[in-house]
């Protein structure tokens, strides 16, 4: 069975986002192959004026209606989302979207103000997700697929000047980011794998 074909069916029947790990497990193909197939499928939808999209965030994928039809679909679903956000929410979401996964302390360095309250609000609204770290302070935040849905884009890379602000030495310097593990941390990486990597790194540093 062709992989792209299979993935399309999986996306169609699923009511929730599918993680890259699930897709790899179900299809029994390797990661790169699956990613390539999703990319192709997603491009077919966005380039051919279709009514569907595959949106991705944080290595989670879900099939969604295409943004051109927003008004009609909204009426059909009797959905009342307005997409209106307070300036503080908007500011915080923007920073998390461009810089995620981001720790609270870094967010606070950028905004110059305590962000506990706003983070909690955004979590409750389902606009961001929290990835637990080993300590509370290590928790990292990413925007959710729900938020990407509001933007009418396929993934965050489509945001204006995304690359420029996502990887930016100047910002890293101002945030005092020196931890190389942070740089190599891959979005959506399996927690176990990540821990294993960190442990290895710890051992390495002990050896030196």
């Amino acid at each position: 069975m062709e992989l792209k074909n299979l993935l399309e069916s999986l996306f169609f029947v699923s009511y929730r986002p599918l993680t890259i790990k699930e897709l790899v497990d179900f299809s029994k193909k390797d990661l790169l192959e699956v990613e390539e197939a999703i990319k192709e499928l997603s491009e077919e939808y966005s380039n051919n004026n279709r009514g569907l999209r595959i949106i991705e965030n944080n290595k989670k994928y879900q099939m969604a209606s295409s943004p051109e039809n927003a008004k009609l679909i909204q009426a059909f679903l009797q959905s009342e989302v307005s997409g209106e956000l307070t300036p503080a929410s908007l500011e915080t979401l923007t920073i998390i979207a461009y810089r995620g996964p981001i720790k609270k302390i870094e967010l606070e360095k950028i905004r110059g103000i305590n962000c506990s309250l706003i983070l909690r609000n955004l979590l409750i609204k389902g606009l961001i997700e929290e990835k637990a770290g080993r300590e509370d302070d290590d928790n990292e935040y990413v925007v959710s697929l729900e938020f990407v849905k509001f933007l009418g884009i396929d993934n965050l890379k489509d945001l204006p000047e995304y690359e420029k602000f996502n990887k930016n030495e100047e910002i890293d310097k101002l945030l005092g980011k020196t931890d190389p593990l942070w740089q190599s941390a891959i979005l959506g990486e399996d927690e176990e794998e990540k821990e294993k990597k960190e442990e290895e790194a710890d051992e390495d540093s002990l050896d030196n």
């Binding site: 969604a64 209606s65 905004r111 305590n114 849905k149 933007l151």
Partner: protein, 245 residues
């Protein structure tokens, strides 16, 4: 009073940015020094700042005053300090970048080009609610639940410890002491400090008296002399002195 309409949650950097942009200045440490007073004036009068956020606003005020003092007395500062100050300008620029990005994101959201996910059909939803519900085992009675609940309650340790409460009393006003000292000085040519402190009953009062004197010196109302370290301080009227000389 300036007309800045700051969103009360956006924070000190947002206020700083708005002042800088209103004055049409570039973000440099020199310009940050220039707007320190305006920033202070704003947080003094603003009622929009939530008390929880006040600490962040005050921290920024302290930084600005530091920058201003450096602009006035550059020889007192090391290169290390300079780096720290440039850091604030850099951070403000970074913040500005993100504010501009957030305006772009807002425009994108404003197009209302929302996507929608498949929603669960009604029957599926009902099933979901069932699976999320709690079904107690058959032999659980209300009595059993009550006993278990009491056990839980007993296990909660209440923290009895009370935090120490102390508020600094508004015993003496510095303004009153200034008037008081001025009166004495106008009657006597020279007076010693311990004389003024005769009625002082608390440490706070002594400190306030001392502050009053410092203020009067600054206003060129009086001058003081002290012959030895920790010795008696003598106060004289500034004008008297001028007449004598």
């Amino acid at each position: 009073m300036m007309t800045i309409n700051i969103d009360k949650f956006s924070g000190p950097l947002s206020l700083l940015l708005q002042i800088i942009e209103k004055e049409e200045l570039d973000i440099t440490s020199v310009n940050l020094a220039k707007i320190a007073d305006e920033y202070l004036e704003y947080i003094k009068k603003s009622e929009e700042i939530r008390p929880e956020a006040m600490a962040d606003f005050l921290l920024m005020a302290a930084k600005l005053l530091y920058i201003k003092s450096k602009a006035l007395l550059p020889y007192l500062f090391s290169e290390e300090d300079q780096a720290e100050l440039d850091d604030l300008a850099g951070k403000l620029k970074m913040y500005k970048d993100f504010v501009h990005l957030s305006q772009k994101v807002n425009k994108i959201i404003g197009r209302k080009r929302f996507s929608f996910f498949r929603s669960l059909p009604k029957s599926g939803r009902r099933l979901n609610i069932l699976s999320d519900c709690f079904f107690p085992p058959k032999n659980v009675s209300t009595d059993v639940l009550w006993t278990e609940f009491k056990k839980v309650l007993e296990n909660i340790n209440f923290l009895e410890e009370e935090l120490e409460k102390k508020t600094i009393l508004d015993e003496v006003k510095i303004e009153d002491r200034i008037v008081f000292i001025k009166n004495i000085i106008s009657q006597k040519i020279k007076i010693n400090f311990s004389n003024i402190l005769r009625e002082a009953v608390s440490r706070t009062e002594i400190i306030v008296n001392f502050l009053a004197i410092l203020e009067l010196v600054k206003q060129k109302e009086i001058i003081f002399t002290q012959d030895d370290l920790f010795g008696e301080i003598f106060l004289e009227s500034y004008q008297e002195l001028e007449i004598i000389n």
